[in-house]
């Protein structure tokens, strides 16, 4: 998403995995309102989130004034995709809206809602859903229930993730329905040495609807669960979003899917 932050123009990633507005410290260091920890300058510690206040943010016609934002290092995202990322645009920024993610057409549509969660403009037809599921928020992160191998699991929704992820500590019954296709040792540049497995989800059900042909990364999400203080069995990423149009209604707290008809 192209956006303008106090006259700096660039790309924001729409990321349901992010809570609010997150700015990349590479470009927004000067905006920091809290100066603590900045004195050392050159070293700068990793993983520390600091705060900034943005005067005007303009994203796709939505104007935010005096917007607080987190500032953190997003260099790893830039380096992987080789695109300039000013920041992440989280779900919390879209309260009171309905969001339609149409991955196939590279479109993100936003609709204003009334208090009951219906679209305000009469020209906007309601979203035609094949499946409707309740969503839950935990720390502003969106969770849905999915069923793998008959087991009900907690998945968070992440438009920023390129692939689905399944916890390697998920119930045995769920893991046994996954065909492992590949494994890879990730010999990273730093101390973050790890491995990843790629599997095929053979029995994935979302709201009584079987979804076939999805792949998933399998890795340990225990650290993530302890961050949230909430068990995370997996994440739904791009593989899921490309299955159809996804609609998130942030008033009714519903997730709807209109599946792409395949020939």
């Amino acid at each position: 998403m192209e956006a303008k932050v106090d006259n700096i123009v660039g790309n924001f990633l729409f990321d349901t995995g992010a809570a609010q507005l997150v700015l990349n410290s590479t470009y927004f260091r000067k905006f920091l309102t809290t100066t603590g920890g900045e004195g050392t300058g050159i070293t700068g510690s990793t993983g520390v989130t600091r705060h900034a206040q943005i005067k005007i943010l303009d994203v796709a016609g939505l104007i935010y004034k005096e917007q607080p934002a987190d500032v953190t290092d997003l260099g790893h995202i830039e380096n992987r995709r080789n695109i300039k990322v000013l920041g992440l645009f989280g779900l919390g920024m879209l309260k009171g809206l309905e969001i339609v993610i149409d991955v196939r057409h590279n479109e993100l549509r936003l609709y204003r809602l009334d208090k009951t969660g219906n679209r305000i403009s009469i020209h906007n037809n309601e979203f035609r859903a094949d499946v409707t599921e309740r969503i839950e928020f935990y720390h502003n992160i969106l969770f849905v229930k999915v069923k793998i191998g008959g087991k009900m699991l907690n998945f968070c929704l992440d438009t920023g993730a390129e692939s689905n992820v399944l916890n390697s500590y998920a119930p045995k019954k769920a893991l046994s329905t996954v065909t492992i296709l590949r494994r890879s040792d990730l010999i990273g540049t730093g101390p973050g040495e790890s491995e990843a497995l790629l599997g095929k989800l053979n029995d994935f059900v979302f709201g009584e609807h079987q979804i076939t042909g999805m792949q998933t990364i399998i890795t340990s999400l225990d650290a993530l669960s302890s961050t949230y203080g909430y068990p995370v069995d997996g994440m739904l990423g791009y593989d899921f979003f490309e299955k159809g149009d996804i609609c998130i209604n942030l008033v009714k707290n519903e997730l709807k899917i209109s599946f792409t008809k395949t020939d």
Binding site: V22, G47, R104, N140, G160, V178, G192, I217
Partner: protein, 481 residues
Amino acid sequence: MRNKIKYFLVLVFLLNVFKGFSQFDPGTVCRVENGKTYFRIDLRWNNDQKKELTRLFDLDSLVLDAVYSGKKEIEVKNAQWKMVKLNDHLVELSKVIKSVPVKPTTVNDIFMVDDRWLNIAGEAERQSVEYGVNRFTNIAVFHYRDGVAFFFLPGHKEAKRVFLSGSFNSWSTEHTPMQICDSGWVVSLNLKPGKYSYKYIIDGRWVNDSFNKLKENDTDNGNNSIVYCYNHIFRLRGYTSAHKVILTGSFNGWNENELSMIRINGTWMLPLYLREGTHSYKFIVDKDWITDPENNLKRPDGSGNFNSVIGIGDSIVFRLKGFRDAKSVVLTGNFNGWNTGELFMDKYQDGWQLYYVLGPGNYEYKFIVDGKWTTDPANPSTTGSGDYMNSFLTLKANYVFQLDKFPDAKVVSVAGSFNGWNPGNFIMVKKNGKWIFPIYLKPGKYTYKFIVDGTWILDPGNELWENNEYGTSNSVLWIEP
């Protein structure tokens, strides 16, 4: 009847035994349980099957060797594997899955689940392209002449708005509207020779060019159409009785089948895009390899024959002063694969010289004077040290690293993502009290640091920096397209 059943059962049994010898189903080899990976390995698998196993599951050959030698506890590269024998030929190998370490956690760091491995799993890295030929099924949909590219989208007359979006306009959704005409939509734009990817946006819908067979995967959104704007036509007059003429050269790895020439009015022709620089080539006329009869520039191929040579772009002069008594001086560098028998320099009044065409880029080279390798005495820029020191040359530099502090430092170099963070590689040169290093960098993001007499520092003149995995930081540089 009972006998029949018996025979049937025996047959089923035999089939299973038979299957057991060759069965290798990647889908059943590996499973995950309680945070552990398990591999079920059949000791009877042949070498091909073992190779496939290593390829798919990235298993270290040391691990496999240990399994076949019957070891129960295996430790390779800090990883602990356990082996359990299930029966005579079936073993189970297991190991705890190393988890992705989550950094001191802010909520937004969690999505660092590393997906770089997706690239390892098959997506080839895009490299700068050497050459290209278009594959349109309808020749009317694209033309390129005198620097102007013409795009035509037939049909879609009912559409309200159509845009052309691609690498040439940074995938803008608005910059390049198309005009409606009798039979479709058209637009022309100025483009330099090269490779471009594009799509049409028809009333907000992204579609690729259905008349273009060249497509490439785009990570976000299906396939992009690919087009080359040509900068050269190869021609071979005569040979009218030949059945087939193939163009082959250094640019396509001397492929003997790929580039068929087309006969038009008694001349074999092939237009294509070639990257700026010097290329060697030959024609294959019905299996006979010949040089280009109309091109006088030929160079030895290092094994006793000659290739035709063509330069696309500006030529530069390599000069070595003096050495008038030398018998031969050869130029060699990374631009010709360090070939020592190709670029023989010519004698001129002050020494030796050679005209050579090179595209924008960074090059390393040396002269070989009567067999003795030497750097270019007239060029202060070098890389490496000792016997591995080469002269360094940047053509059409689009960025200059600058450091205007530390005037008394002995050695200042720049290291970054562009040179594998090699600190001794790009040595900066002092000019007017400033340390400088001009370089050609392709568009994209780079991280770097300066090394001043052995101490790594951020670029004090650049306010953009980010943290790195070692707990320090790197300067950040973006080269815009």
